[in-house]
Symmetry: C2
Amino acid sequence: MPGPHDRTVRNVLFIMADQLRRDYLSCYGHPTLHTPHLDALAKRGVRFDRAYVQGPVCGPSRMSYYTGRYVTSHGAIWNFVPVSVREQGLGDYLRPHGIRTAVAGKTHMEPDVAGMARLGIERTSEQGVLAEQLGFEPFDRDDGVWPPGFVSEHNQYTAFLKKHGYVSDNPWHDFANSAASPNGEVLSGWEMRYANLPARVKAEHSETPYMTDRAIDFIREQGESPWCLHLSYIKPHWPYVAPAPYHDMYKAEDVLPVKQHSAERGDDAHPVMQGFQRFAGAENFSQEAVRKHVIPVYMGLVKQLDDEIGRLMAHLEQAGRLEDTMIVFCSDHGDYLGDHYLAEKELFHDTVARVPLIVYDPSREADITRGRVESRLVESIDVVPTILTALGVMPQEHILEGRSLQPLLHGEAIADWRDAVFSEMNYAFRDFVRLPIQQPIERCHGYMVSDERWKCVFFDDLRPQLFDLENDPDEFHDLGADPTYAVVRERARERLFEWLRHRKIHPTVSYPRMAAWTRKEQEAGIHICAW
Amino acid sequence: MPGPHDRTVRNVLFIMADQLRRDYLSCYGHPTLHTPHLDALAKRGVRFDRAYVQGPVCGPSRMSYYTGRYVTSHGAIWNFVPVSVREQGLGDYLRPHGIRTAVAGKTHMEPDVAGMARLGIERTSEQGVLAEQLGFEPFDRDDGVWPPGFVSEHNQYTAFLKKHGYVSDNPWHDFANSAASPNGEVLSGWEMRYANLPARVKAEHSETPYMTDRAIDFIREQGESPWCLHLSYIKPHWPYVAPAPYHDMYKAEDVLPVKQHSAERGDDAHPVMQGFQRFAGAENFSQEAVRKHVIPVYMGLVKQLDDEIGRLMAHLEQAGRLEDTMIVFCSDHGDYLGDHYLAEKELFHDTVARVPLIVYDPSREADITRGRVESRLVESIDVVPTILTALGVMPQEHILEGRSLQPLLHGEAIADWRDAVFSEMNYAFRDFVRLPIQQPIERCHGYMVSDERWKCVFFDDLRPQLFDLENDPDEFHDLGADPTYAVVRERARERLFEWLRHRKIHPTVSYPRMAAWTRKEQEAGIHICAW
């Protein structure tokens, strides 16, 4: 808890875990996976219980987190889709106010190289680098996940591994994300059957501690100068490989029961869901033996993450930074791990679209909400405006589509909080989903509209999905074709239509400028059709 | 008619008139305003009878013409709203193919100076200049309309006027767009009561012939090298001032009868329409005396435009360019001139949103349609893809939202032409509309959805407008609140919803790239959740 000092927010530590499910943290209810450090953070701040991401896959979700805009607005509809040069990120808003804004870890940002070339932007210029990083200074940008054969020359973590004696073309793969056979052969972490074996690195050389160290380096380097650091862990995202002792810390009994129901499979299941169930990984994870083999390792990776959060918090406390640093902890989406006969992500079940979100605000105004569990609907696009308001920077209302969480953090009375959350997906990139149902590439969009009770998902040309979150919290029973709920679906559809009409389409003109226009035109002597 | 040569399209002359009503051309039915040169162009090509602009005001409409995208997509929702650096124009598509693409005249393009600064784009670099001009080389960019006091130093037309002895700080205003009192006093063309007096320039020095000369200069300069020129006349846009003899060529009897109906005024009129009727210019133009005083001059300006088109066509013919040059003639929107008790533009009546569009395609494939009047629905966003296909450049389907008119120009059988057109407006910039109805600045969007029979307009929080174009072609009777037509409105609303869901939001990833994704991922060795 902060001391008797000023406690104005001067810095922000914006932590993200990759593919972390909310129910695999003890503060969100996991019975045996104890995450005391994250739980302590929740006690210091506010734990949001209904936080949704704007897209249930890395790229779109992250671009929404970083831009404060829905996927439809920023346009990065899937992984590796470049964010157009039009879009601005957190750093673009904070840097003019003297706040160094950097990333240590993953962003999944794909630069708009064609747009940059057309505009003559040098990729190596200061502005070019920031454009490529969506406004983050790349203190140690590292997306990980280097497939075999990739050469990751300019990657700092790879250099670190080599320095510590893990030498190969791709030590990320060969050491940090692989195991070894008894005779020393590399057993690739891409293959889940090796998940139970320890990684070929010491824990201290694995990705999560490395990036924690880098964050500590950055924070030290900053001294008393203000900063905003996006610390973005690659884990517990696959490859599901953990270093000792995390690789065998959990047993099959610690794995949460699978969420599967016969109604979710077969011809009556939604065609898009059937499509994703066709993915080989989903077939693997649908087997109980695979789950019990792999998920304990996923849990180990979460445990390691929590331990590192503990180390980081200790550093912040010792450096006095807990008194002037806001901390945001979140995930870009969850991981099906076999639930609903699915693997990975991409659909809108709570398992994936509803994420952990904890915000610690050191200011006195937030003392009233410490330890609170907030159940109002929040969205990942709220993070940018929350950070801006905490740092005293006015959010650009005509660009940002999220709402500052500050009133919730400060326990203020709010008359009109949002009544629905929105998320988007696109399966155009997935042959095995699109081709069997013969959807044209431009008609593969899915939209989720969810309030606290009803989650409705709309697709082009296909029937909607509908889940009753109150009576069917596991989302087994798709009511999308049930005539009883026509009115519920129609209401959600209207909500989506209204939402679509109010996307922020004009980032180049602000509301105050619009409001002053008529007067300014007159002042400029433009008297149109005067007599 | 082209001679017995090759007749492949190698050049494009894309002509736009500003604020030109379709019914003020004789080929579109004006009884006494003869426009023989445009009529002849229509005879050589195809005259489109149902062409709609994407926004009934200069900036948004033009940005749609130039980008081939709807207003919601390019984001320039009103005049002077900068087009974000993300957007590309005609020149950006043609230049890589060696086709010089330039503008002579007006574009109303407002550069995204803030975006350029953020990205470190030098405004004076080659790419910077093109970014500021939405891809057009500014051969002679001239938006005109320089209010009193403005200093138009770098304007070529202003320099031309000065060179010809019209010397003042703002000769555009003081000579080309003003008259003189008997004692030589400047009578500003901003005041319509002077419309009947001749401009203080000789006809040959007025804006329309000047820009025609510049087009001829450009075409001569190009010789046999391929080009695309946007020749964009400022007239007949206000100030309503014409040089002799055009200032008194037409009489009050030549003015088309006003389209006004008592049902359009008063408390039953749509609140947004009432708002625009409140504009001082609308009150002026609602008076018959004003119309009869001013419109003859508007007609003179149209007549001068037609004469200049004649001169230009003669040059093209003499230079042999009619055999390899596509010609597009259009308008950015009409002019109410008192119809519906309105002035200027901004709403969706056919008077304003439905424009003249004539396309001449020299190729043999188009011989079959010469002189045809095409009544299928077309949109201004069709111009870019039409030009691209004519020049053999593949349109970027994931960015461009219009359809190439080539099949219509070539008389091909088409199974599925569009069944509706869309246009957008925003009255947030208009105090006199927005404030009386207390709409927040972000809820002032209007959408038109029109098929051949029904034109429906939707606004935030207000009732829709509905016009029966078949039985009420003058659009006097707004059926927007009539319960008889609830089904018609609901159908249009569904159409709008569908349209909104399919805007092209991802300019950075093409459809073929999306279609190949799954396969490429596998080839890259990314085997997710493999066992």
